[in-house]
């Protein structure tokens, strides 16, 4: 039972953190706006699906609506942010870019409040629609299986894009040395734009598919962003298998503590993060980096 909960929570964490590690891996940006995209996705998912169901359209298609909502909302915001602001900042120090994304995060938080107001949104239909299944005498909502499946699909798709396609190989060149890639005729700016949009879309997808399981309220992204940081840092910033491992570790640790020692729930997550940073500062899946002179 603990393990099942842990796996489900891990799947959610993995979805939430995947885009963060992708964006860091390619662009070397610790992207605080990731939390905003999660929240944007959640709001868009909740309101689109709510509108869809209110018109009486087939509820089974609401999953497609959740998907489309994340897509639309990301395309509305991510390219704007990358082209309009981040593009001019790449030359700056990593920490400065982190502050810039923090500023953007603050702006997006209030943009969300302006668009959707401060009242909570509920759309439980997609969650309740599938009923539940039994495992070892306990029933679990089937919707959670969708989340696990989606997490696996997202991770798989990303791994395939990175290792199995031409685009992925070119991306590797961009990661390795943007300057030389540019000289070789790769449109690095385009790769950054696509990476940022795609990474943000993963966050928005995580948000929109989580929306039916929670009440969507302001401040949703604030918590997600630190959790995702923990996951990504444990695994190693920029590493895809690292994010998966980080999600599994955090997910299991949390579900064990919730079941056996609920008073340390939050504490253990960040304790693990601090321990990993203390012994492997660059995360579990990371290569040694020479000290630059």
């Amino acid at each position: 039972m603990v393990a099942v909960d842990g796996v489900m929570y891990s799947a959610w964490l993995f979805m939430a953190a995947l885009g963060l590690t992708l964006i860091y891996g390619v662009m070397k940006i610790v992207n605080v706006t990731h939390g905003s995209f999660y929240a944007l996705g959640a709001y868009a998912g909740a309101s689109f699906t709510g509108a869809w169901l209110a018109r009486g359209y087939p509820p089974m298609l609401s999953y497609a609506v959740l998907f489309a909502a994340a897509l639309v909302i990301t395309l509305a915001f991510a390219p704007l942010i990358e082209r309009g602001i981040l593009r001019f900042m790449y030359a700056k120090d990593e920490v400065v870019i982190l502050l810039i994304t923090y500023a953007l995060f603050l702006i997006l938080e209030d943009t969300i409040k302006l668009i959707w107001g401060v009242d909570p949104y509920f759309v439980a239909e997609p969650y309740a629609l599938l009923g539940s299944f039994e495992l070892a005498g306990l029933s679990y909502p089937t919707y959670n299986l969708i989340l696990v499946g989606l997490a696996l699909a997202m991770g798989g798709a990303l791994a395939w894009l990175r290792h199995g396609t031409r685009v992925g190989k070119l991306l590797l060149a961009v990661i390795h040395d943007p300057e030389v890639s540019r000289a070789m005729g790769i449109n690095v700016g385009k790769y950054y734009l696509v990476t940022f949009t795609f990474g943000s879309m993963l966050a928005a997808l995580a948000g929109s598919f989580t929306a039916p399981t929670v009440s969507v309220v302001p401040g949703l992204g604030v918590e997600v962003i630190v959790l995702s940081f923990a996951v990504v840092v444990i695994g190693g910033l920029g590493s895809l298998p690292g994010a998966a491992l980080g999600a599994v570790i955090v997910g299991l640790v949390r579900s064990f503590s919730v079941h056996y020692m609920p008073q340390v729930e939050l504490f253990v997550i960040y304790f693990v993060m601090a321990m990993v940073l203390a012994f492997r500062p660059r995360g579990l899946f990371s290569l040694a980096e020479p000290r630059k002179i």
Binding site: Y102, A103, L266, A274, L277, A278
Partner: protein, 311 residues
């Protein structure tokens, strides 16, 4: 070279606060006290920023200082503001000394992320701690000054004077510290750490010292904030609180020890005004201001002032 007038300016600020205090309305004193409390934290962050380090977890020490002050009142019944500040400083110093051994090895983004994790650990502990009021926190005793309980109308005045005293004394000490060899090492560490080590100085121990100083300042700031507000809760350790401190530090710049206090005051006023005028968009104005600062004034508001003086 121009004579450095910072100590005189600090003295004048203290006199102005102390003398004008009795005529100030209560809310103005509240904002001033909070500005001094936040300014102390920002002063510490400024020390780290001069060495190129950004701590995303300074709320750890702010919160520790506040809880140390609160626990004194709650469990021992001591509400003296100076004792509270000392307790905040002591607890922060102790924790920072230990954590410093770990953190002094980190640079750049990893320094930020590890300090973030540490402050979230404290948040996680406090949220689940029933004895300390979990998410609600607890109220703390009204303050006394050297064991004397001031009349109700004068409590705020005493607190603001104590805050001004602590803040400006710290500013003075940090100002002197910046002119010592250890203090001057900071920009060198930022520029090129390996050269610093070739010169025979240890970057790691220099950073450790700065980290402990920054923590002590934040601890005192937290104790002041606790006394001023009269209530503490775990939110003080959350990462958004650290974000506010970073905002103040960036706003102020690293040019002078008075800058963080000016930055904190500006932040407090903006915060209050924006919250009053449009509670749903104040974060947006904050974000836009931060963005504009990073792009147009990377050395903070103080650089405007310094440039004008140089011209």
């Amino acid at each position: 070279m121009r004579r450095d007038r910072t100590p005189e300016v600090i003295g004048v600020i203290f006199l102005v606060v102390a003398l004008s205090g009795p005529w100030l309305p209560q809310w103005a004193m509240f904002i001033l006290t909070i500005a001094f409390a936040r300014g102390l934290v920002a002063l510490g962050l400024m020390l780290l920023l001069r060495a190129g380090l950004v701590s995303f977890g300074q709320a750890l020490y702010y919160c520790l200082g506040a809880y140390a002050a609160g626990a004194l009142g709650k469990f021992i019944g001591v509400g003296d503001i100076f004792v509270q500040m000392l307790a905040g400083a002591a607890v922060a110093a102790l924790v920072a000394c230990v954590l410093g051994f770990l953190l002094a090895r980190y640079r750049g983004i990893f320094f930020g992320l590890l300090s973030l994790a540490l402050s979230m650990i404290l948040y996680g502990l406090l949220v689940k701690n029933e004895a300390l009021g979990s998410t609600d926190g607890f109220n703390i005793l009204p303050s006394t000054l050297f064991g004397i309980r001031p009349a109700a109308d004068w409590v705020r005045y005493c607190v603001v004077v104590a805050a001004a005293f602590a803040g400006l004394a710290a500013a003075l000490l940090v100002h002197r510290y910046l002119n010592t060899p250890l203090g001057r090492l900071a920009p060198a560490i930022k520029d090129n750490e390996i050269r610093v080590e070739y010169m025979g100085a240890s970057a790691r121990s220099a950073i450790h010292v700065k980290y402990v100083i920054a923590a002590v300042l934040a601890g005192v700031g937290g104790a002041l904030a606790a006394t001023n507000v009269g209530h503490i809760d775990p939110e003080m350790a959350y990462w958004t609180t650290s974000g506010e401190f970073i905002f103040i530090t960036i706003l102020a710049g690293t040019g002078n020890v008075i800058a963080p206090f000016a930055g904190a005051l500006i932040f407090g006023v903006i915060h209050t005004l924006a919250y009053d005028l449009s509670p749903n968009t104040w974060q947006m104005s904050l974000g836009a201001a931060l963005l504009a600062l990073i792009v147009f004034l990377p050395n903070g508001l103080w650089s405007l002032f310094a440039r004008r003086k140089a011209a």
